[in-house]
């Protein structure tokens, strides 16, 4: 596919001048909205100033996997957001090009265009997907680069100037266009083909244990997971909102509170989607839980009280909702039915 696009670009290039294109327009590439989404939730958010195009997505994909964005050419976005692990990695926190580990778990990337509030990262600091793509490039414990130097490297590259021209009708490479392209690619990362999706569409059957697990997930007097993590009618399996889910009684990371400056937001982090949990361990904003069993144990008997704990958390004095061993196993089985192997194996999403 990549070779095909490059050939097409080269062919068209023969007929173009060095200046911006005349009469050329990138080819529109609307997102293919899965039936389980169109049946249940409102359309995705696509910025008016960054429509999806074939050329933009192709450029974004190449940039996403290209180590040219890092200062020493050793890491790319994909280094911490690998397709095989649901576009996260398997360490609690991630190390950047200097071998320094950060404090947050790399967030999985999928269904990002359906984050209607458009607050990204665990703490909601990035107010658009384009803005989110800016920060890791210069973060000293991530790609530790400099945008001016990145732009210069892209300008000096034998292929990127033409790829930008085809994507954005200009040969002027900028940070803004670079992040726009990455955001376009990221919006194509759609996961909607789990066993549970097929069950919802009448194409698969759940086991009795998975059905029991769904019941525990939805029962307010059992797991009560659905108030924050979606339900069969909200197949994102997240509310994309911010909650203190009782991880700590004293915060070492203020989360949303550090962004808003409001102490009422201290200890709040964005609810992650429960899709693809089979691939995205470890869990929580700091990757403290290595297994799904530990996550369930946390909500069952590990809650820590604090002034900002979400009032949706129940039985805090008892440590949580007190699930029986079998109930935990059933809940886990249901949660794993939300994983989508076709997503991590999709060649369109791989280098």
């Amino acid at each position: 596919m990549k070779k095909g696009i490059l050939s097409l670009v080269a062919l068209i290039c023969l007929n173009c001048s060095d200046d911006d294109t005349t009469g050329y327009q990138p080819t529109s590439m609307p997102l293919e909205i899965p039936q389980i989404f169109s049946n249940n939730i409102i359309p995705p958010v696509i910025p008016n100033d960054n429509p999806q195009t074939i050329e933009g997505v192709a450029l974004g994909k190449r940039l996403f996997f290209d180590k040219i964005l890092s200062a020493d050419g050793t890491q790319a976005c994909a280094s911490c957001h690998s397709p095989q692990t649901g576009f996260t990695d398997n360490t609690a926190t991630s190390d950047g090009i200097d071998g320094v580990f950060g404090t947050r778990n790399s967030m999985p990337l999928f269904n990002l265009a359906w984050n209607y509030s458009e607050r990204f990262n665990w703490d909601g600091k990035a107010l658009s997907l384009e803005q989110q793509a800016e920060e890791p490039v210069e973060n000293p414990i991530e790609l530790h680069s400099d945008w001016n130097e990145v732009i210069q490297r892209l300008k000096n590259h034998p292929e990127y100037p033409e790829l930008f021209r085809r994507a954005f009708e200009t040969s002027t490479i900028t940070k803004e266009l670079t992040t726009k392209a990455i955001a376009q690619f990221e919006r194509t990362l759609i996961s909607a083909n789990s066993k549970f999706d097929r069950y919802s569409l009448g194409q698969a059957t759940l086991t009795e244990q998975e059905i029991n697990g769904l019941d525990i997930f939805l029962r307010e007097d059992k797991g009560d997971c659905f108030h924050c993590h979606g339900n069969p009618n909200n197949p994102l399996w997240t509310d994309n909102d911010f909650h203190n889910n009782g991880l700590d009684s004293v915060f070492t990371d203020l989360g949303l509170g550090a962004v808003t400056g409001d102490p009422n937001d201290n200890g709040k982090f964005r609810s992650p989607s429960l899709r693809n949990l089979a691939y995205t361990s470890p869990y929580m904003h700091d990757g403290r839980f290595a297994t799904l069993d530990e996550v369930i144990d946390h909500y069952s008997e590990g809650l820590q009280n604090s002034p900002t704990i979400d009032p949706l958390m129940k039985k805090i004095n008892e440590g949580g909702v007190q699930l029986a061993t079998q109930e935990k196993a059933d809940l886990k089985a249901f949660l794993l039915s939300l994983s989508d192997p076709s997503f991590i194996n999709n060649l369109d999403f791989q280098d």
Partner: protein, 258 residues
């Protein structure tokens, strides 16, 4: 939301076509009134800026903080002085937490004039509650199928100081009262209700304030003890009926500006 029936359509068309006597006014122009939803605690204005602090005291004496408040209203209805009823088939999610949906302009026009009563449904009636609303799904406002499905009428979350002088969460969630949760739930009684705002004169440009006295949810006819009813109220039909009863006087007509 589905259209109810042809009869209602005929009434609407009649209202649009008839002379001023039908609406009790000399003005037959068409208008789309805006409803402004405001909130107070026994008269003191409440907005999301007042959330997350223990500054309210219930009638039972419990100090509470509000952390999340959102609810659905639907089926705004206008009754003329002649007793004719003009139904609208819209709904609106009022999200106080995020300051969203507090102003709702009717997405259709009605004849201007004096109306004997303007009313709406708190929540969704059973027919509407069985529909699939993509925006409410996207807002995660659903009620699980084993509890009858459909949607929350209200999600009101916060904390109170319990009898042990400790902060404790409450989830005052209003839904359709349900018994026997599971594959065949039963419904002891309807718990959506009609809010009558009374007579309203609607001019070419009209804003109708709808006030919610939040304190009323805890006040009467059922003095609400948060130590008894605080969480897991959705599968508790007794609690749902108490919420329904207390909701009857929560809403009132505020200012009507033209």
């Amino acid at each position: 939301m589905t259209k109810r029936n042809l009869l209602r359509l005929c009434i609407v068309l009649c209202l649009c076509a008839c002379d001023s006597d039908d609406s009790g006014s000399n003005n037959t122009s068409q208008t789309s009134p805006t409803f402004i939803f405001t909130h107070n605690w026994d008269g003191s204005q409440v907005s999301n800026a007042d959330f997350n602090s223990f500054q309210f005291t219930t009638a039972n004496g419990e100090s509470i903080s509000i952390e999340r408040l959102r609810y659905v209203i639907s089926d705004i209805t206008f009754r003329t002085n002649n007793g004719e009823v003009l139904n609208t088939d819209f709904y609106n999610l009022v999200d106080v937490t995020n300051n969203d949906g507090l102003n709702f302009t009717l997405a259709r026009t009605i004849p201007a004039g004096n109306y004997a009563n303007v009313s709406f449904t708190f929540g969704l009636d059973n027919e509407d509650n069985s529909q699939n609303y993509l925006d409410l799904n996207s807002a995660s406002f659903n009620v699980p199928d084993m509890l009858g499905g459909g949607y929350h009428y209200m999600q009101f979350d916060g904390k109170f100081i319990n009898s042990n002088i400790e902060e404790q969460g409450f989830n005052y969630h209003a839904i359709r009262a349900v018994d026997n949760p599971g594959t065949n739930p039963t419904f002891p009684q309807d718990t959506f209700f009609t809010v009558n705002l009374g007579p309203v004169n609607i001019a070419a440009v009209t804003e109708i304030e709808v006030e919610m006295n939040i304190a009323q949810w805890f006040k009467e006819p059922n003095l609400w003890d948060l130590n008894v009813y605080n969480q897991m109220l959705m599968p508790n039909s007794t609690a749902q009926i108490l919420i329904y009863e207390n909701g009857q006087n929560v809403f009132s007509l505020g200012e009507v500006s033209q």
